[in-house]
């Protein structure tokens, strides 16, 4: 008797769970204007909806004074699994006679990038980020090699931390 009860219970539960799935797809079917998530891509090119988190390409963040935060530490270059980042640095002499290493060219090989975001994670200064651009293809491979730091840009001065005056 117990076995028969269990058998019938199993059948009934099977139907309930099937009905759940059917109702969900029916909801999607009858409300397409709400549920469809596909983009009509070339048609809605002027107002695309791409998620902000979408990893399109790497950029070096510049502020309004044309200053970036890259210290040319090459951690991103080392983190990159397929050598798509090349940091070219140069030695400059500061006013007080010290030699200092600064960024010369931040070379980004987009053609080799797998958009893994490991460079973003490796950067200690949060100087780079990924933006959600997606129309990246072109006819000439060489145009995919980009220099990310803008001409004339320089390292952002760190805000001086004034020691607290103890009273």
């Amino acid at each position: 008797m117990k076995a028969l009860y269990n058998y019938l219970k199993e059948v009934a539960f099977a139907f309930v769970s099937l009905a759940n799935g059917l109702l969900l797809t029916l909801k999607y079917f009858v409300t397409p204007w709400k549920s469809i998530i596909t983009e009509n891509y070339p048609d809605n090119r002027d107002h695309p909806s791409v998620a902000d988190e979408f990893a399109g390409e790497v950029i070096l963040i510049h502020d309004e004074n044309n200053e970036h935060k890259c210290t040319a530490c090459t951690l991103c270059q080392m983190a990159c699994p397929n050598n798509s980042i090349q940091i070219i640095s140069k030695q400059v002499e500061t006013e007080d006679g010290k030699k200092k290493k600064v960024l010369d060219q931040w070379v980004y090989h987009l053609e080799m990038c797998t958009f893994c975001k490991q460079c973003i994670d490796a950067c200690p200064q949060d100087a780079i980020k990924m933006i959600n651009s997606y129309e990246l293809s072109c006819f000439d491979r060489s145009t995919l090699t980009k220099v990310l730091n803008r001409p004339g840009s320089k390292l952002k001065e760190k805000a001086k931390v004034t020691p607290k005056v103890q009273e």
Binding site: G21, Y28, S35, I36, T38
Partner: protein, 380 residues
């Protein structure tokens, strides 16, 4: 409605017209060809609608648009696909059995078209009014697996062979519960003639007046017939992710097109049988209750109000049974598509377990209960 123009009047008029100018054997031949062409064309139109419907239903259920580039809302997509298939080469693999490989699609198409013969499309509109109609359809539809086995085996491809073997196991199993649920309705109606079964539902469809057992039989028939059509969630015969395309892996061009067409024709036939047996075929909706509102509703449904109208309008009533027949047809087809795009595919052991442990015992018990109902006179 019955007192107005009927399909039998139209067919007798055509028969008399032809008999007046031709020899009897020629009349017979012409009538056969015209009837067959009419049935096949009607079915092909249904198939065109079904393919478009399937793609749209699939799209919307998977949060997509479906075809929307060729023509208005993708309406011409199917024609573009057919032209593509016609232009492609029908390639035969070197090691394949050439004769069987070529014959297989044609054979399975013939078998599924044969099942159309005893189907009653409207009152008096039936190709072959035989007293074994339902038996004939069940016999023919179980032959469909021969074409699939032939295709799978002659392709000389392991995926094709596996798909064909699975399809064989599946169809042999699910024939049983499909047959038993058909027997349930045959027992209630007391006839195997499709027209007779439909006429027995003039005072209510069997799914309504056959109590719970008829509803059970309907559900079991829908499940079993989905399996017989090799459609998801029972599409083990072509399981794309495991067997590339199953039994038609090696087919290309229009030979593949015929298999594709065949799948939809089978679906149409199965839906026609389901609507004939359970949903009253071309009978309009009838409430089997005895109070004034129900009577008024039933009179409207039977187009009683049109009897006083002029004769030329009553021609419109000729289409009324067809509207109901095709409406039910597409309702059941929508159900099958809904299942396909909702449920994941079963494993082969789950498939056989479902049939032999659940559907078959349930349908046997169901048949016994229906027999008791009939003996005790409990049904309407």
């Amino acid at each position: 409605m019955i007192s107005m123009i009927q399909f039998s009047d139209v067919t007798t008029w055509i028969h008399q017209l032809l008999s007046s100018c031709m020899a009897p054997w020629l009349v017979f031949l012409i009538e056969l060809v015209v009837a067959a062409v009419a049935a096949v064309v009607a079915l092909l139109v249904c198939v065109i609608i079904m393919v478009y419907m399937e793609r749209k239903v699939a799209g919307h259920m998977q949060l997509r648009h479906g075809p929307n580039r060729v023509g208005w809302h993708g309406l011409c997509q199917l024609f573009a696909d057919i032209i593509k298939l016609l232009l492609k080469e029908s390639f035969t693999p070197t090691r394949a059995d050439k004769l069987l490989f070529t014959v297989a699609p044609v054979l399975s198409l013939c078998v599924s078209l044969l099942a159309l013969a005893p189907i009653s499309w409207g009152p008096g509109l039936v190709l072959w009014n035989t007293n074994i109609g339902v038996l004939f359809v069940t016999a023919i539809s179980s032959m469909g697996v021969i074409g699939i086995l032939m295709a799978g085996w002659s392709s000389n491809n392991k995926y094709a062979l596996l798909g064909a073997m699975r399809s064989g196991a599946q169809i042999v199993s699910y024939e049983l519960s499909a047959g038993l649920s058909i027997v349930t309705i045959v027992a209630l109606a007391g006839t195997l003639n499709t027209g007779g079964i439909i006429e027995s539902q003039a005072n209510g469809w069997w799914v309504l007046k056959g109590h719970l057992p008829a509803i059970f039989a309907f559900i079991i028939y829908i499940i079993a017939s989905t399996a017989e059509c090799n459609r998801a969630p029972f599409d083990l015969a072509e399981a794309e992710s495991e067997l590339t395309a199953g039994y038609h892996t090696e087919y290309s061009g229009m030979q593949f097109g015929i298999f594709y067409l065949n799948e939809y024709i089978n679906m149409g036939v199965v839906a026609m049988i389901a609507s004939t047996l359970f949903l009253g075929g071309w009978q309009p909706f009838y409430l089997p209750f005895d109070f004034p509102l129900a009577h008024a509703f039933n009179d409207i449904m039977a187009l009683k109000f049109m009897e006083t109208w002029p004769a030329w309008i009553s021609w419109v009533s000729l289409a009324w049974p067809l509207v109901w027949f095709f409406g039910k047809l597409f309702l059941i087809i929508f159900f099958m598509m809904w299942f396909r795009w909702t449920f994941p595919r079963l494993r082969i052991d789950q498939l056989l377990k479902l049939e032999w442990k659940y559907l078959l015992p349930l349908s046997i018990v169901n048949l016994v209960i229906v027999a008791l109902f009939i003996v005790l006179g409990l049904h309407f």
